[in-house]
Amino acid sequence: MMKRNVLAGVSLTAMLMAGGAYADTVKIANISELSGAGAAAGTVWAHGVDLAVDEINEHGGILGMQVEMREYDSQTDPLQSRALVQKAIDEGAFALLGTVYSSSTVVNMLVAQQNGIPQFTASEAPSITQKGNPYIFRTNWGAQKGMPKIGAYMRDQLGVENVAVAWANTEFGKGGHDSFVEIVEEMGLKVVADVPSEQGQADFSADVLRIKNSGAEAVFIYLTQEEAARFLMEATKQGLEIPKIGDSVLTSEKVIELAGPAANGAKGHAALTIAADEPRVQEFAAKFTDRFGYSPDYNAMKGYIGAYTIKYATEMVGEVDSQKLADTVHGLCLDAEEYPGVLIDMCWDDTGEVSRESYMVEVVNGQEQVSEVLPAN
């Protein structure tokens, strides 16, 4: 267990805040799911952030000032996350990172907005950048941007007409499911089985059975890691032979580890994957594994990218100013050659949405392999 810097209490911080002359640090806060249902994802994200912040501090900080990082555990509770965003802002954070779960982000981003503090989130629910909040920024594109690519892949590459969708009936899955169904129906595909599942569901036999008997020619799997692994294992058992397509979760390291051979053949549309043939990504993966003892996934990459984005954009502004930071990131493009911390070239539009190129990844013999690089949209 890694120990985080515990600072000497609120009153001291308040003193430091009051006396601007002492402000030789830059305060950034990370609010993430360190406990509760989202602990797995939140912890990985937080590790990604920690790695980036420590690197930044080693190399002189931001604008020559050391970064003072504070971590807050939202307990995967939207209410708590809202309170903590408030607390982080009260304690002087000028930019925020987190949260991972969209159900938390949609709530706490209102607080950041009220206070005019830019927030870099890991959430991918479509609604987040559709509310006209000028302070929210993604670290990876929203689910709705990936769906047209997946739909086109199913229709044009696989040549299927009838598809099934297995999704987690949570805010995460619901957002992805809704945009998937809308987009593929527009494309002329037919959704013949629509199977939601519960958070933490263990028994996927009924789900697989329904899809198997629906006549679907391909299935889109939008589940969290453990559930995706259980689904794949049950699909193998019941002999569900149709192509299994998902997003970055489906082909992630963890799912492969959990599902074993059942993961072979699964295909994922991923923006961030350590299978990417990019030296910067490989270097990041090596550093991360070395420090935390496990290999990173997309959430770790998002956290790392988020922290570095704050550094780069703040240095472009030339001063620590929340409003200017937000203004700068809108419409910003960062080239990974010049700004290696973002790992892969990326751009933000004026809603805070991200675009970058993406990959079709397939699990072959227990390894993620990039089968195709798709352009940014």
């Binding site: 263990a202 028994d203 036999s205 789900d207």
Partner: protein
């Protein structure tokens, strides 16, 4: 037809494991009026004993399982009884309910902090080879799970009905004061019950984890299912809990396929409410004579 058969087969193999958890639940209730809100976590934990044995101490699978079983008896059986249940029993059910809730949180968070927040693969005990059974797929693993679960419950039933100790345990469950007068060592009998619950939890854990993976939060759903199964089947009958477990396994799958996947968890709950209204003692239960 093949569809229905598949539902039945899958439902039963899941249900057998729910039954193990539910039986332990009813045992504790009978022996000490303990409503164990940590029962789900009891089933979650032994898998991590096994994993810790294998990854940290490098034990082979069989030795790790044996160690886990012993640890479960000690921690989930004896220590639970001695440190938590015993001091609180004289104060009624309520503080104990709270204590088991807290215990559940403690176990869950400890696994998360000291082992891993992420799900873990668990080595299968039985071959995963799949057989086609009149169009339904069933794995050897499922069949073995069913057999082991049934064997455990039947031998427990035989033990309680046919042996002296077993009958003394039943007498204790029915009326501890009378049992004491008849010369039964009540404390010891209650302890046996807790040990049996620990063992059942360990068996359930080791059977379920290869299929459902080992994760710190697994107990949340499992505990709830065990609870429903116990009440539906009959809170004071082992065969009731067995029936309840199997029933919930099958109904859950039936509901997901034929009713609505959104409301699949609602069906067992509605069944629970209906049973309480119509037949409060559960399907196979007998009316309790021991209320104030």
């Amino acid at each position: 037809m093949a569809e229905l058969l598949q539902i039945l087969v899958s439902g039963l193999s899941a249900g057998a494991i729910y039954a193990l958890a539910a039986v332990g639940f009813t045992l504790l209730w009978q022996a000490s009026q303990t409503i164990n809100f940590a029962q789900g976590e009891f089933v979650m934990l032994p898998a991590f004993f096994v994993l810790a044995g294998m990854t940290i101490f490098g034990l082979p699978l069989w030795a790790a399982i044996l160690t886990a079983l012993v640890l479960s008896l000690v921690v989930l059986g004896a220590m639970f009884k001695k440190l938590i249940v015993e001091p609180m029993l004289p104060h009624g059910t309520l503080p104990l309910v709270i204590a088991t809730i807290a215990l559940g949180i403690l176990m869950k968070e400890s696994v998360k902090e000291f082992y891993s927040a992420q799900g873990q693969p668990f080595p299968p005990l039985f071959p995963q080879h799949v057989i086609n059974f009149f169009g339904a797929s069933i794995s050897i693993q499922d069949i073995c799970n069913l057999v082991v679960a049934f064997a455990a419950i039947i031998s427990l039933q035989l033990f309680l009905g046919r042996t002296r100790t077993g009958r003394a345990m039943q007498a204790t469950a029915q009326d501890p004061r009378v049992a004491e007068i008849l010369g039964v060592d009540v404390k010891k009998m209650v302890m046996y019950t807790f040990l049996i619950n620990g063992a059942l939890a360990a068996i359930a854990s080791i059977l379920i984890s290869p299929v459902y993976l080992a994760k710190f939060s697994n107990g949340e759903t499992l505990g709830m299912i065990a609870f429903i199964a116990a009440i539906v089947g009959g809170f004071n009958q082992i065969k009731g809990a067995l029936l309840g477990g199997l029933l919930i396994g099958v109904i859950d799958n039936l509901a997901a396929v034929y009713v609505s996947a959104e409301y699949r968890t609602a069906i067992p709950l509605i069944l629970l409410i209906v049973i309480i209204m119509v037949r409060p003692q559960g399907i196979l239960g007998t009316p309790e004579g021991r209320t104030v």
